[in-house]
């Protein structure tokens, strides 16, 4: 297997991009990544795109062909592959792109992630999000995706491994960083009270415990590590990629206060990278719901069970907090959650951090950064580890 490098990254601003279509944002992110890698575009020999629901959101299926066409790749008949894995679409697409380069099958690969959501109303979008849970035995019985995470939160509080305040502080942490990220949807700090007093969505979770509806796209360019220097002095190494599955329905798990797929996948990733959780300086985690942030830090082995909530509440997870800086991009909660783009945007943020280009939210002397992407209630999980070179 070849070692793989990220030689270019790019992203659009995340938010309600009224003036931009799906193809506009997809192309903008891709162009930025190609430009960042000092490429012309003609070097790209394969294209992957993470996207959850263009078929529903913009009534366009076959978006692999759309992006290949409008990025100019179709004139050279470059293969284009769309990847869907619910909320983990971007993370899984990244894994496919890494695998393509590592195998030697393709050499210079462009990976994009994009979602155009705000052309639809909230109820329509939420129903699509709910469809990442078990459509027959969860949502078909009246449950919603937020209610499933709410039941995880309730159980965590019942078992005493996090308080309501600690869970809410995950959103406070993400907004703190979102305020420092010019590309974020919400560039405003929030207080714990704001989260606790927000209107209820699925009790005990309220509006500020849930990631927003967002338009956005992100992209990265990958090539073999030993060819990276040919293109740029500013690249990072992909030290590990691992992916795991779990039951589709939450009710089928022995324990709902932990995502077994995150535990298994992160262990595999640390082993592949030859490091331990203590080596990680930055983590981008899938905080589609605040409670997911608590589970993530514990399941990734960055904190012991019962300690992640305290870390968020004390501010230890912030830039300069002294331990792992969590969701310096603003995370899904404040940077925004254009579903298929988020897993790719995490890779963009980690790469910017490791190249020292994260400006006001820069983490000092970071060697390793980790990204975790999650589909449904932990039914698909990816963990990627990047290394500064």
């Amino acid at each position: 297997m070849k070692e793989v490098a990220i030689i270019g990254v790019g992203a659009t601003k995340f938010g309600e991009l009224w003036g931009s279509s799906f193809r506009n944002i997809g192309i903008e992110a891709g162009m930025r990544a190609i430009e960042d890698a000092n490429l012309s575009g003609s070097e790209i020999d394969c294209l992957f795109i993470g996207n959850m629901s263009a078929g529903r959101f913009i009534n366009q299926k076959h978006i692999d062909a759309l992006i290949a066409d409008y990025s100019g790749m179709a004139t050279k008949n470059v293969p284009a592959i769309r990847v869907e894995a619910g909320g983990a679409s971007g993370g899984v697409a990244f894994g496919q792109a890494v695998t393509a380069v590592a195998s030697g099958m393709y050499n210079t690969v462009l990976l994009g992630g994009a979602e155009k959501m705000t052309d639809q109303n909230d109820a329509f979008i939420n129903t699509a999000m709910d469809a990442t849970a078990d459509a027959e035995w969860e949502t078909g019985m009246g449950l919603t995706l937020p209610s499933l995470y709410a039941m995880i939160a309730r159980r965590v509080m019942h078992e005493g491994t996090a308080t309501r305040e600690e869970i809410a502080s995950v959103a406070v942490n993400s907004h703190f960083h979102g305020a420092l990220n010019p590309g974020a949807q919400f560039r405003k700090e929030i207080s714990l009270d704001t989260v606790l007093r927000a209107s209820p969505v699925a009790d005990p979770l309220g509006m500020f415990d849930c990631a927003p509806i967002t338009d956005g796209a992100a992209a990265v360019v990958l090539c073999p590590l030993d060819e990276a220097k040919k293109h740029t002095d500013s690249y990072v190494k992909v030290s590990a990629f691992a992916q795991g599955s779990d039951t589709l329905a939450l009710s089928q798990r022995p324990d709902i206060t932990s995502f077994g797929a995150t535990v298994a996948t992160s262990r595999k990733a640390y082993e592949m990278a030859g490091i331990t959780p203590a080596d990680i300086s930055i983590a981008e985690i899938h905080d589609d719901f605040s409670i997911a942030g608590i589970l993530a830090l514990q399941d990734l082995g960055l904190y012991k069970k019962g300690c992640a909530g305290k870390a968020f509440l004390s501010g230890e997870t912030k830039v300069g907090g002294g331990k792992v800086a969590v969701n310096t991009s603003g995370g899904l909660k404040a940077r925004g959650y254009p579903i298929g783009a988020s897993g790719v945007a995490q890779i963009v943020e980690i790469s910017e951090q490791l190249r020292g280009k994260a400006d006001k939210r820069q983490v000092a002397n970071a060697k390793y950064g980790l990204a975790q992407s999650v589909g449904g209630t932990g039914s698909a999980v990816t963990v990627s580890i990047m290394e500064a070179v």
Binding site: W137, G140, M141, G142, H158, D203
Partner: protein, 133 residues
């Protein structure tokens, strides 16, 4: 949820809590499975129909305020994960209860109720919901 056939196929599970039991290791599954993920090859052809106990207790719950269009008339409404007496976990709505009286550990039982109505197809879906026992 739109076609009549799609709903009809799941009647045994949704009306009668019919799942399966592995004839090899004895594990009970709900919803039903075609083979046992624990026994794999050894369990093939040995899955038996099994009716899950209708009594159980609340393992966790949530009150839904932001409901999908098909259930917007119900909101706020409660959903729960219920541990049935034979150990199986089932998710569903919890009704005929004061929302602020729901607690983890509360005894409940499954009853047959109208789930929702598919306006376009004119199909009314029925299935289990939980009520206080």
């Amino acid at each position: 949820m739109s076609s009549v056939a799609r709903a009809w196929r799941e009647f045994p599970g949704k009306y009668n809590l019919e799942g399966t039991k592995c004839g090899n290791c004895g594990t009970i599954f709900f919803p039903k499975r075609d083979f046992c993920p624990k026994c794999r090859r050894e369990g093939i052809g040995k899955m038996q129909k099994y009716k899950v106990r209708r009594e159980g207790e609340v393992f966790s719950f949530s009150i839904i305020h932001d409901a999908p269009p098909c259930n917007s008339a119900l909101k706020p409404y409660a959903v729960a994960m219920v541990r049935a007496k034979d150990g199986v976990m089932i998710s569903g709505q919890l009704v005929d209860v004061e929302l602020d009286k729901i607690a983890i550990g509360m005894p409940v039982r499954a009853v047959l109720r109208k789930l929702d109505e598919d306006g376009a197809a004119g199909v009314i879906h029925y299935g289990y919901k939980f009520v206080p026992a």
